[in-house]
Structures are given as structure tokens and as C-alpha cells.
């Protein structure tokens, strides 16, 4: 029951806020924010009552929905799902605070944010494909309008790009799942993830058609690859992230991009272990490309927001590298259990921590743009003298992003590479320049924006206000907490990872 409440609470309040009269803008905004805090409280409550030592799904709800099609309303949380729910619940209020001063119809903006939150919760708790797909698609509509209405000058182009790309991927994925359903023997037909994985394990899927199996696998892969994104399906992202208003960009990168990675872990790997094995090399090459090329592209950007956007692709590339390296290495049981477990634990850590760090970076870039009216890499200089607190906190976020030990970015990337250097040596080695490039461009930001002589026109550049400090301090504090105590997350994730490895 609690998971349904978590999902439908933002949805219901979102509708309510949207229906408020046009003169109730502030009330709507405050109501939406209070709801996101309430959802956060529920998520933390879930964490507190989650049993770390219990394998499998917890808080399960299962109601028959359309029995003739094997569609169930089936919710459940394991460690992975819980971490994603926590991340979403954390990012939404953060993004709302970042959007606090939106002037054009804030009521609608905040209600769309709540719809998006419901979509995230639904995606991360659903255990039946159709149910999952419903929320997966649902989250796209608010994202589209958030960019289309409140975005930057090229918002029309950016919004359409996101929509068409993601929809193209989704239709391919849906068609693939329908084919999977239609070709499975009637007695084992199902849309349930666990059931599908079990059937796949017994070789009961695709009725033995090799080509069909490949086609279905590629369809699902396409849907997920666009969402994450995996190079070369990433071209929608820089425009979308840089045109989106700050709060939306934070949500897109912080939480929505994780839907794709989550899909790889929950859907693709368990249901298609053989195909993952067969396609291992090309996928690893693409993952390495997803790490290196966007890092190089970020290096070439002159726009801070676009730099952060490209660095986002790069960081999710590590997740994909970890997944592709750990998947497809099964022979009835995991072949390299320790390394695979390390890589997957790292992936989950990285998903959470990237969400935290990247949304903080977008927040800071948004503040810079709001104060200076510009966000070019070379438009600023010496801001540290004018705004030391600003510079210090953004510096922490930048260092967290480049993976400095002690901050949250490090444990995830460390574990991923610890695993993948054994599992996929060449791809890992290929990816290492990505780490280096990331360090260089992040340090360049630090240097160009905050160091050097302070240009005259930026004299009196305001430091963080009290409200802004209160907004960002909890997030920065969490960067330290999860950097120093990664076991807070691995403790949750590890059993889920071991469970997953059985089907990989």
C-alpha cells in the first residue's frame, strides 16, 4: 500500500495544484513543495523499515489488472529500487527550490514537476513491464512541457528532440516486448519482470528463434540506450539539458537519466543474458565511447551548461561500462562473482551519486547564469574574490564530479573500475582517458570562472544568499556523507546485486 501512496501522492496533488485558480500561484507552489518533502519523508521511512538482510522484493503489492494480457499492478522494492526512490525523492525538492523564482505560471510548472516525480516513483517501483512502461512514458510528457514552455531560446527544438528520440526508443521497446509476449508459449506468457527472467533462464523465450531473439533484444536496447543515453543515441541530450530551465535540467540529469540505467539492470540484463553475452564486445566499445567522446566534447565547449550536460553523459558511461562488463558472464552461476559484484555495486553507487552531484552542478550553473546573464566559460574570472562561499561549494561539487576520494563520486567509480579492469580489461583501459579528460575540463571551469583577475563588471557579484545556502548545503553535506560512508548505500544494494548476478 505504501508504494502506491508514494506514487499517487504527487500525482493527486499535482492535479490539485494544476486546478487551482490562476491567482493562487504561490499556494500552488508551496503545496507542491510540501508534497515533495512529504514524499521524501515517506521515502526515508521506507529506507528505515527496509530489511537489509532480506533478499528479494519488499513492500510488495500485487493486484490483477488485465488478466487476459498478463498485466498486473505489481509493485515492489529491492535495494536498487529503494536507492533510486531515495534519489528521486531527494532531487525533486532540490529542483523545486532551484525553480522557486519562476515567474511564468509557477503553479503549472510545479504541478508538472509533481507529475514527473510520480512518473519516477512509478518507474522505480513497478515490477510488470506494462505497468513500468506506463510510468516510463508518463514522465516524458511533463518533461516535454517543462522544456517547451520554460526553456531557453531554442526550447522548441530541444523539446521536440527529446520527445521524438525518446518516443522512438519507447515504441521500439514496446514493439519488442509485444513480440516477446506474442511468441512465448501460452503457458509461460507474462509481462512480469521476475517471471520473464525466470522463463529466460529456462530457455523458454523466443521459441528458439535466434534472429527474432536478436531483433527483440535490439528493440529493448534501443529504448533504454536513448534514455541513458548511450553514444551514438545521445544527440538529443546537450540541446535538451542546456535549454531546460535549471530545475528541470536537475531533474532530467539527476533522476530521469537513471531510468535508463535502471532499465538495463532490471529489464535488459536479466531477461536477455544470452544476447548480452553475444553483444558484449560492441556494447563495451560503445560504453567506452560514451565515456571518452562526451568528455572530449565537454572539453571543447564554451558554454558551462553544455559542459555539465556532456559531463553527465560521460558519468553515465561509467555505469554502462560496469553493467556491460558484469553482464553476460554467466555459466549457470556468476563466473567472477567478486568482480561482477564490485562493478554492479559501483554502478548503483554511481547512479545515486551522479544524481546528487550533477543536479548540484546544474544548480550552480543556473545561479551563475541568473546573476551574470551569461554562462560562457570565458565570460567570468576571479569570482572567488567576490563570492568565496559560492566558489567553495561549487568547487566541492566539481571535485565530487571528478571523483576525488572522500567525496561521493569516488567510491562508485572506484568500484566500477575495480570490477571492470578484471572483467573487461581493454574497454576499461580505453575508458581511462575519459577520467583524465573529465579532470581537465572540470578544473578548467574552476580556473576560468573562479580564479584569475576579477573583471570590473563583476565587482560586487553577490555571494550565495541565505536561502541558496540552505538549499545547497544539505546536498553538499550528503556528498561528504556518501563519500565517507559509501556502505550506507552498498549495504542496501549488495543483496540486490547478488540476486541480480544469479540471472545475469
Amino acid at each position: 500500500m505504501i508504494l502506491s501512496i508514494l506514487t499517487f501522492l504527487p500525482l493527486a496533488v499535482g492535479v490539485l495544484v494544476a486546478l487551482l485558480g490562476p491567482d493562487r500561484q504561490k499556494l500552488g507552489r508551496n503545496l507542491a513543495f510540501a508534497t515533495s518533502l512529504l514524499a521524501l519523508a515517506v521515502a526515508v521511512g521506507l529506507w528505515a523499515s527496509f530489511d537489509n538482510a532480506k533478499a528479494g522484493m519488499q513492500f510488495v503489492e500485487s493486484v490483477s489488472w488485465v488478466p487476459s494480457l498478463g498485466i498486473e499492478y505489481h509493485l515492489g522494492l529491492d535495494g536498487l529500487g529503494l536507492i533510486m526512490v531515495l534519489l528521486s525523492a531527494l532531487i525533486v525538492p532540490f529542483a523545486m527550490l532551484a525553480s522557486w523564482k519562476i515567474e511564468n505560471n509557477p503553479k503549472l510548472y510545479f504541478s508538472l514537476m509533481l507529475f514527473l516525480e510520480a512518473g519516477l516513483f512509478g518507474t522505480f517501483t513497478a515490477q510488470n513491464f506494462i505497468h513500468w512502461f506506463l510510468f516510463w512514458e508518463l514522465s516524458l510528457i511533463p518533461a516535454f512541457f517543462l522544456i517547451r514552455i520554460w526553456g531557453g531560446p531554442k526550447r522548441a527544438y530541444a523539446a521536440s528532440q527529446v520527445f521524438i528520440y525518446t518516443m522512438g526508443g519507447s515504441v521500439a521497446m514496446l514493439a519488442a516486448f509485444l513480440a516477446l509476449y506474442a511468441t512465448t508459449d501460452a503457458s509461460t506468457r507474462s509481462f512480469d519482470f521476475a517471471q520473464l527472467a525466470a522463463t529466460a533462464h529456462q530457455g523458454g523465450l523466443f521459441a528458439g528463434h535466434k534472429t527474432l531473439a536478436t531483433a527483440i533484444f535490439l528493440g529493448v536496447l534501443l529504448g533504454l540506450a536513448v534514455k541513458v543515453p548511450l553514444v551514438p543515441f545521445h544527440t538529443w541530450l546537450p540541446a535538451a539539458y542546456s535549454e531546460a530551465p535549471t530545475g528541470t535540467a536537475m531533474l532530467l540529469t539527476g533522476a530521469m537519466s537513471k531510468m535508463g540505467v535502471y532499465g538495463f539492470l532490471r529489464v535488459l540484463c536479466p531477461i536477455f543474458p544470452e544476447q548480452m553475452q553475444a553483444w558484449r564486445t560492441p556494447l563495451l566499445v560503445l560504453a567506452a565511447a560514451t565515456i571518452v567522446l562526451p568528455a572530449a566534447a565537454a572539453f571543447a565547449q564554451k558554454d558551462l551548461k553544455r559542459m555539465v550536460a556532456y559531463s553527465s553523459i560521460n558519468h553515465l558511461g561509467y555505469c554502462l561500462l560496469g553493467i556491460f562488463a558484469a553482464a553476460g558472464l554467466t555459466d549457470g552461476s556468476a563466473l567472477f562473482p567478486n568482480e561482477q559484484a564490485a562493478a554492479l555495486n559501483g554502478v548503483i553507487l554511481q547512479m545515486f551519486n551522479h544524481g546528487l552531484t550533477a543536479s548540484a552542478l546544474f544548480y550552480f550553473v543556473g545561479l551563475i547564469e541568473q546573476r551574470g546573464g551569461a554562462r560562457g566559460l570565458n565570460d567570468f574570472g576571479g569570482l572567488r574574490q567576490a563570492a568565496p562561499v559560492f566558489c567553495g561549494l561549487m568547487g566541492i561539487a566539481l571535485f565530487a564530479s571528478l571523483g576525488l576520494p572522500g567525496l561521493n563520486g569516488f567510491p562508485g567509480e572506484f568500484l566500477i573500475f575495480k570490477g571492470t579492469l578484471h572483467l573487461a580489461e581493454r574497454a576499461s583501459v580505453l575508458s581511462i582517458p575519459g577520467l583524465l579528460l573529465t579532470a581537465i575540463f572540470l578544473l578548467t571551469i574552476l580556473q576560468r570562472v573562479f580564479s584569475g583577475p576579477l573583471a570590473g563588471k563583476w565587482n560586487g557579484w553577490p555571494d550565495l544568499t541565505l536561502g541558496e545556502r540552505l538549499t545547497v548545503l544539505p546536498v553538499v553535506a550528503l556528498m561528504f556523507v556518501f563519500g565517507i560512508f559509501p556502505q550506507l548505500l552498498t549495504g542496501l544494494a549488495n543483496l540486490a546485486v547478488l540476486q541480480m548476478l544469479k540471472s545475469f
Binding site: 494480457l69 512502461f133 522548441a156 521500439a172 509485444l178 509476449y181
Partner: protein
């Protein structure tokens, strides 16, 4: 109970004809009451049938001799499939009246013809005597013609004439096929259940199936006989295009399923692949043409061709799941197309007097008419087949069925869905969201969206969401009907 849907509609039409004066208020009130009463009868009838017969087999509603010499009976009956469509008609009728609230010109006649059309449609869905079905089918064509010619807009004479001619050609084909079946069977009956038991010779079935199926499917927008649909929809006044796309196109699909497929299963088997090809072409072609239209209403008109292609494809899969999807898609498209036509015709065109997307775009209607914009966004999402709306479950079932019968067509239909998403998104952005370059233009004030429009839009939205979230409500009617004895010849043909 169900028979009253027909009587109330015709009675209402008759009363309206003899109502004195030209005051629109009593006319539209009466029409609304008649439509509501029809909907109430439909709902009660459906609940009644469901509790008694489990909605499976045909349940008699009325049965009396009519032209005894020829064995023609006044025989009405309902099963799950007809119940779903009767419910659709009831909902669409109420919404249509609400969206015609502003008809001032000869409103009495308008609503009288409107109700007569409804009566004919109810009659078709409830008839099991095929002669009676044919009579109702013809009855529905005439008011349609006048509604377009008198109250229509763009090229209305042309649109109305084209529609009427296509309809009459189609019904002539149906008539030929029905009479031939009557003679060949030699059992002196037009009763569907009786004729379904007759094993017609295969050679006869092969031509009779095509004649009857295509005759009906013309009205369902089967490619390449679809060209009446976009022009007719565009020419028709709002309520008529809502009914045309929402209900009348379903008459064709219903007849194709109920008459052609059940009577001539061997012929069906022969032609299955050919018609499936036409259906897929319709899906993709309709969507592609919709993608390049400049007229707002033409986009929705062509989208109807594409969505009805899914119905025909579902029928041709000859699988339980595909047929169930086809019937659900008939219902779903009826609701969604009605909603989209209401936004285009009533909310936007009646206020801006243009449907040219290039002219509409700078108006930035999402600021001027937020209610219309939100309705179109949700309706558009439903039309794209997003999960959570009725179209999703319908198209899902059709695609699964298509995968089982002809995988290649399944893939092509999925491509059609993708193009559908593209044109819906395009028209949504062009009609309601100004481009960046022209956004600064001042907003032109428009009359607010009136209460009847809001109620009508909410009725249709609530229906598509309810069925999208609880498809069981309708599937509980449709699935048993597909397993009824009446449908058995069809499944035998499928396994042949």
C-alpha cells in the same frame, strides 16, 4: 431496455421536428435529454445483460415478425461487442450535443437530424436480422448528408456528396451480398445466427465476402476507399464530425466483423492477407498524410484513417487477442476522435474562424485558450497510444495479435504508431504553441470555453482514462462475446 435507445432517439427527433418556433434553447435541451436518456438506457441495458447472460451469447432485446413472407423479423439482440459500441454511441451522443450547444441556425432541425442519426446507429448495433440492420444502416446515411450540407463548412456540398456516394456504393455492395446469401442459403431468413450456421459453398464465399466486407469497410475508412473520410470530416459541423469519426466509421467496422466475417469464414480466410495489407497501408499512409497537412481538421481526419486501419488489422489477425483489440480500438477511437474533433471544430475554429496551422501558431492559443490546450494535450497523448489511455490497451492487443499472425505487419504498424506520435506532436505544437520568433505578439482575446464544452470534454477524457486504467470494464463484455457460439465459425476458419 436497450431497444429504448433506438425509440428515444427517433421519438426525440420526431418531437423536435414538430416543435414550434426557432428558439434554440428548448431544442438543444430536448436533444440533450434524449441523448442522456439513450445513454442511461445503454448503461442499464449493459448492466442488465452482464448480470443475466454474462454478456457472452446474444441476448434477445426484441423479436417480432415483420415481413413474414420473406422471413424478415424485427429482431434486436445484443452481445458484448454490440454493448461496447452501444455504450460508445451513448457517450458520443451526449458529448456531441454538448459541443453543439452554440448551434443557432435552424437548431431545431439540426438536433432532429442529429437524433435521427443516433437512432440509426443504435439500430445497426442492435440488429441481428440483417435486413433490419441494412435498413438502419441506410437510415443513418440520410441525416448525415443533410447535417453536412446545411451546417457544414469548407466545401460542404462536395464533402457531403462524396460521403453520400461512397456510403451508397458501399451499401449497394452489402445489399447484393446479403440478397445473394439469402438466396443461396435457401432458409428464408435474414437472421444472423441462422445464416451463420449455413455452410456456404467456398466459391460463393470467396466473392460474397469481398463484396460485403469491402461494402462495409468503405465506411470504416479502408484504404484505398478512405478518401470520403477526410473531406467529409472537414466539411461536417463539429458534432457531425465527432459522430462521423466517433461512431459512423465504427458502423463499417462493426458490419465487416458482424456480417462479412461471420457469414463467410472461408472467404475471409482467402482474403485475410490482402485485406491486412490494405489495413497496414492505411495505418502508415494515413499517418504520413496527416504529418504534412496544413488544415488542423484534416490532420485529425487522416489520423482517423490511420487509427481505423488498426481496427481492420486487428480483425484480420483472426486471433482472439487481435479481435478483442479491434473492438476495444473501435470504442477507444470513437471517444478520442470525438474529443479531438471537438477541440478543433468547436473550441478553436468557432472562436478563431481558421484552421490553418500557420495562422493558428502565432496566436499562441495555449495562453488564450488554456482549457482547449490542456484537453488537446491529453487527448493527443491518448491518440498517440500512450499507456494509461484506452488506445494503449487496444493497440497493444492488436499488435500482439498481428505478431502472432503476420509479424512483418506488426512491425509496420509499430512504425505507423511512431509516425502517429510525430504528427500528433507536430499539430499540437503548431496549433497551440507559438514559435520562438513570433511569441511576442499580443494575445487576441477569445470567448472563454463555455460550461457545456467543459463538461463534454471531461466526459470524454474521463472515459478514455477510465478504460485505459481499467480495460477490464469493457474486456469483460468483449472477451465472452468472442467466445460465444456465434463466433465459432471464425475460429474454425482461423485454424484451417
Amino acid at each position: 431496455m436497450l431497444a429504448w435507445t433506438i425509440y428515444i432517439s427517433f421519438l426525440g427527433a420526431a418531437v423536435l421536428m414538430f416543435l414550434p418556433g426557432e428558439n434554440p434553447r428548448p431544442a438543444r435541451t430536448l436533444a440533450l435529454l434524449a441523448a442522456l436518456a439513450g445513454l442511461a438506457c445503454a448503461v442499464m441495458g449493459a448492466v442488465d445483460c452482464h448480470s443475466h447472460a454474462g454478456a457472452g451469447a446474444l441476448t434477445d432485446v426484441a423479436n417480432a415478425p415483420w415481413i413474414a413472407e420473406l422471413g424478415i423479423r424485427y429482431h434486436l439482440a445484443a452481445d458484448g461487442i454490440s454493448l461496447a459500441l452501444v455504450l460508445l454511441t451513448g457517450i458520443a451522443a451526449v458529448a456531441g450535443v454538448l459541443f453543439s450547444w452554440n448551434v443557432e441556425n435552424r437548431s431545431r432541425e439540426f438536433f432532429a437530424l442529429y437524433l435521427a442519426l443516433m437512432g440509426g446507429v443504435y439500430g445497426v448495433f442492435l440488429s441481428v436480422d440483417l435486413f433490419l440492420l441494412f435498413v438502419f444502416y441506410e437510415v443513418a446515411i440520410i441525416p448525415k448528408y443533410f447535417l453536412i450540407v446545411i451546417w457544414g463548412s469548407t466545401r460542404r456540398e462536395y464533402g457531403a456528396m462524396k460521403l453520400a456516394l461512397y456510403s451508397f456504393v458501399g451499401s449497394a455492395m452489402v445489399l447484393v451480398g446479403l440478397i445473394a446469401a439469402y438466396v443461396v442459403a435457401g432458409t428464408k431468413t435474414f437472421d444472423l445466427a441462422e445464416l451463420a450456421k449455413v455452410p456456404f459453398p467456398p466459391a460463393f464465399q470467396n466473392w460474397a465476402f469481398v463484396v460485403v466486407f469491402v461494402g462495409f469497410a468503405i465506411l470504416a475508412g479502408l484504404w484505398p476507399f478512405h478518401t470520403w473520410a477526410p473531406t467529409g470530416h472537414v466539411a461536417a459541423p463539429t458534432a457531425a464530425s465527432m459522430l462521423l469519426a466517433g461512431v459512423v466509421m465504427k458502423l463499417g467496422a462493426y458490419g465487416a466483423l458482424r456480417v462479412a466475417m461471420i457469414l463467410f469464414p472461408i472467404g475471409l480466410h482467402t482474403w485475410q492477407n490482402t485485406i491486412a495489407v490494405l489495413a497496414v497501408v492505411g495505418i502508415v499512409y494515413g499517418a504520413l498524410v496527416a504529418l504534412v497537412q496544413q488544415d488542423f481538421k484534416f490532420v485529425i481526419g487522416y489520423s482517423s484513417v490511420s487509427h481505423m486501419g488498426f481496427v481492420l488489422l486487428g480483425l484480420m489477425t483472426l486471433t482472439q487477442i487481435g479481435l478483442s483489440g479491434a473492438v476495444l480500438q473501435m470504442f477507444s477511437h470513437g471517444i478520442i476522435a470525438g474529443l479531438l474533433f471537438a477541440v478543433v471544430g468547436r473550441m478553436v475554429y468557432d472562436r478563431t474562424h481558421t484552421r490553418d496551422l500557420e495562422v493558428l501558431q502565432p496566436m499562441n492559443l495555449n495562453r488564450v485558450l488554456p482549457f482547449a490546450a490542456v484537453t488537446f494535450v491529453i487527448g493527443g497523448a491518448a491518440s498517440m497510444g500512450l499507456p494509461g489511455f484506452s488506445g494503449f490497451i487496444a493497440e497493444l492487443q492488436i499488435l500482439v495479435g498481428a505478431w502472432q499472425s503476420f509479424p512483418v505487419f506488426g512491425v509496420l504498424a509499430a512504425v505507423g504508431i511512431l509516425v502517429g506520435i510525430a504528427f500528433t506532436l507536430r499539430v499540437l505544437l503548431k496549433a497551440f504553441f507559438a514559435d520562438d520568433k513570433v511569441e511576442a505578439r499580443p494575445l487576441t482575446p477569445c470567448p472563454r470555453i463555455s460550461l457545456p464544452e467543459r463538461v463534454g470534454a471531461l466526459l470524454l477524457l474521463a472515459t478514455t482514462v477510465t478504460i485505459g486504467l481499467c480495460p477490464g470494464l469493457l474486456l469483460d463484455f468483449i472477451t465472452p462475446a468472442l467466445n460465444s457460439p456465434l463466433m465459432q465459425p471464425l475460429w474454425k476458419a482461423a485454424t484451417r
